[in-house]
């Protein structure tokens, strides 16, 4: 199309004005931005709780806050970060924005349900914020019974309701994505021509629709037990608190794959465009996404190793837990093979991709340690586990998310972010992250329990290092927040395809028109066909 200045051409941002045009929009791109604002807000709330936790842990005594308050801090940090930031993050922002574009569609299959999903997240979030402001909840984000049902005197019901509502948001998003990918692909867009980002979000959507309902009913049962004394988990009646744990982790383990799979999808995009090569082993990567989704449902009992679960069940779950590492490893091998003989660019998104590969690998390997029943008996409920999952969630998912945000920022806004500042903050984040969480592996191995705010003196040095890292990490996260907003006005104007990437989303102007494409595209080639790009072509792997 004619390269008119961004302001003169109609696109999805200027097609209509006013608050109603945003709050009642059916445009998946606008809904993606609504989500972006919402989850960023929750990220910083969760970050505030993390800050307070780390400050408390500077000293061995529990002297900043009382034990009860500390319980509330880590609970709310977990609840906000998991349910109101990580679970929606990539699918609801980048997925919402780009899946229709990547498949050549005008929108998702159900645009109004998409908008409803956002409202549900906001409403759920309001419940959670109410609970926080009204006094907090102290059960841990895991809500174990009978504490949550019978003994806690905090806002369990309000928080549980918020999570249930947010869960429905997640279910509807997953449903929307599955139907969209099945029924709305443009002519010629076969399954095996889909970008791997679509495969990843599709697999994630499968987990969302199959797992989240179980969390919903579990929290409903907690609500009933707390509110109406209908005891399902009450040991005094012969009930089993471990039943709660089975139901809870049946969702919450696959949930961690909801949180990381879309990030892996981003990785496939980044590694490909910044090596100017198609992804090595496309089919393997696509199938491994689905394999992770399926296998992820078979392993939840590894969270119950020391709960009173039978030893035989523990052995079964431990055995199965090793398998789920395999498809993840396959992806890492394939990304690495993609890099081989690629024409590597070190743009900011690629820095985040490198960070992901290294940190996710560490997180994943330590996952194998805790999958081993014998080791887990010693490190469960210690900082080892905390470090393990933060390496995946923060070192993995958040890195991928930031990489994707930078990569697609020009497409979403028509502006480039400042590359210098972006590279700097990527470095700050990487260093801050490792300083925060690597000491925690050691702490956990040495016996520092999780959810404790008072600890033996000999652990202080490692805690101080961790808190120092957290301060650096916080700065690292603040810088992009500032320059992204700055770029909206002062960033260099981006063209349709600043990265010279393949993919349908780059074949339309930046920002895209309201209906994405002037004409419905017809697809005739594979997903990462870099042989056609000028100049930097490398042999097709």
């Amino acid at each position: 199309m004619i390269t008119a200045a961004v302001e003169e051409r109609e696109h999805y941002l200027n097609a209509s004005y006013g608050i109603k045009s945003w709050l009642l929009t059916k445009d998946h791109k606008r809904i993606a931005l609504l989500y972006l604002a919402t989850i960023t807000f929750f990220f910083f709330i969760g970050g505030i709780f993390a800050t307070l936790i780390r400050i408390e842990l500077l000293t061995p005594k529990g002297d900043l806050v009382s034990s009860d308050t500390y319980n509330k801090l880590f609970t709310m940090h977990g609840v906000i970060m998991v349910f109101f930031f990580l679970i929606p993050s990539v699918p609801a922002t980048l997925g919402n924005f780009f899946i229709p574009m990547m498949i050549g569609a005008r929108d998702l299959a159900f645009p109004r349900i998409n908008l409803l999903s956002w409202y549900l997240l906001v409403i759920g979030g309001l419940f959670a914020i109410f609970a926080m402001v009204a006094g907090g909840v102290d059960t841990g984000w895991t809500f174990y019974t009978p504490y949550s049902t019978s003994y806690s005197n905090t806002w369990v019901i309000a928080t549980a309701l918020g999570i249930i509502v947010a869960g429905f948001s997640s279910i509807l998003t997953g449903l929307n994505f599955i139907v969209t990918v099945h029924t709305m692909r443009a002519p010629g867009m076969t399954w095996f021509r889909l970008p791997l980002f679509v495969w990843a979000n599709y697999a994630t959507a499968l987990i969302q629709v199959l797992g989240t309902p179980v969390l919903a009913i579990t929290l409903v049962l907690v609500f009933c037990e707390r509110m109406f004394h209908i005891g399902i988990f009450d040991p005094a009646l012969g009930g089993d608190p471990v039943l709660f744990q089975h139901l809870f982790w049946f969702y919450s383990h696959p949930a961690v794959y909801i949180m990381v799979l879309p990030g892996m999808g981003i990785l496939s995009e980044l590694v490909s465009v910044y090596s100017r090569k198609r992804v090595f082993g496309y089919g393997f990567v696509a199938f491994s996404s689905v394999a992770i989704a399926v296998l992820g449902f078979l392993v939840w009992g590894h969270h119950l190793f020391v709960s009173g679960q039978s030893l035989y069940a523990g052995m079964v779950f431990s055995f199965l837990s090793y398998f789920v590492a395999i498809p993840s490893a396959i992806k890492v091998f394939n990304w690495t093979a993609t890099l081989y003989k690629g024409s590597i660019s070190y743009a900011t998104p690629m820095l985040y991709a490198f960070g992901f590969i290294g940190l996710f690998t560490i997180g994943g390997l330590t996952g194998l340690f805790v999958a081993a029943l014998g080791i887990d008996v010693h490190v469960t409920d210690t900082y080892f586990v905390i470090a393990h999952f933060h390496y995946i969630m923060v070192g993995g998912t958040i890195m991928a998310y930031l990489g994707g945000l930078h990569y697609w920022w020009p497409k979403m806004t028509g502006r480039m972010y400042p590359e210098g500042g972006a590279k700097l903050s990527a470095l700050v984040i990487f260093l801050g992250f490792n300083l925060t969480f690597f000491p925690q592996f050691i702490l956990g191995y040495l016996g520092m329990p999780r959810r404790y705010h008072a600890y033996p003196d000999e652990f202080q040095v490692l805690h101080v290092l961790s808190t120092a890292g957290a301060s650096v990490l916080a700065v690292g996260y603040l810088i992009p927040a500032i320059y992204f907003i700055w770029s909206l006005r002062y960033g260099a104007v981006a063209g349709a395809n600043p990265w010279k990437a393949t993919g349908l989303e780059w074949q339309t102007p930046s920002p895209p028109p309201p209906h994405n494409f002037e004409e419905t595209p017809v697809v005739t080639h594979e997903a990462y066909d870099y042989s056609a790009t000028i100049g930097e072509a490398v042999q097709v792997g």
């Binding site: 929108d107 629709v209 049962l221």
Partner: protein, 223 residues
């Protein structure tokens, strides 16, 4: 070349290219929703399975306090409503407005009858002090805790089912109104179709709840 002139109607929303694409999407969407419902109820089916396997005798005794005849009649009522529902869908396929309205109305009535009978059963349970809580007491066993577990599951499962019935009746009333307004035809009856899928699913849940709750051990304990 797809023109951007997509007139949005009930029959064709602007994100779709063809009516059949829209129908496929709607139907697939409803089926996926139904499997989320399978998993939603599924959590309680797990709780039931676990506790019945641990406390078979008490669960049997508690089950015997339910009225199996009324339960069976209610099951029949719901099955009849599924029959009328599928006839409503069939009427939709044939574009017969009056028949659609008649069969939807019958379905709603049968659904309300089910709910009425259920309400009566619950009231009976309340009278007998079989509602979990401080005043719970079931005759014939010292294991009151385990008996309460059965009734907690009974009320939770039939309650959630009843809630879905209420929603179903609500959906039917909307479909009835739209049918009255002439919105449906042989070319476009998708809402009736997917509404029917929902209704049948709720029926299937009850098909399992009836034997699992009412028929655990009707022949009584071993001497």
């Amino acid at each position: 070349m797809a023109s951007e002139l997509h007139v949005e109607t009930l029959a064709l929303r602007e994100q779709f290219d063809t009516a059949s694409q829209q129908k496929n999407a709607s139907t697939l969407g409803m089926w996926i929703f139904l499997i989320t419902e399978i998993m939603f109820f599924g959590g309680m089916f797990l709780a039931y399975t676990a506790y019945r396997s641990w406390y078979p005798n008490v669960f049997g005794a508690a089950s015997r306090t339910l009225n199996a005849t009324i339960g069976a009649i209610n099951t029949a009522v719901l099955l009849c409503s599924s029959f009328t529902m599928v006839l409503a869908v069939r009427a939709g396929q044939l574009g017969k407005r009056k028949a659609i309205m008649i069969f939807l109305s019958l379905t709603m009535l049968l659904g309300l009858a089910f709910l009425g009978i259920k309400g009566y059963e619950w009231w009976e349970k309340f009278q007998e002090h079989h509602v979990p809580g401080p005043s719970f007491h079931m005759e014939g066993t010292p294991l009151q805790g385990q008996a309460q577990l059965f009734f907690s599951l009974y009320f939770a499962m039939t309650g959630l089912h009843a809630l879905h019935m209420v929603i179903g009746v609500g959906v039917m009333s909307v479909l009835l109104l739209q049918a009255y307004r002439g919105k449906y035809s042989a070319e476009y009856y998708t809402p009736i179709d997917v509404g029917g899928l929902y209704w049948h699913f709720v029926d299937i849940i009850w098909i399992y709840l009836f034997p699992l709750l009412y028929l655990i051990d009707r022949h009584g304990p071993k001497p």
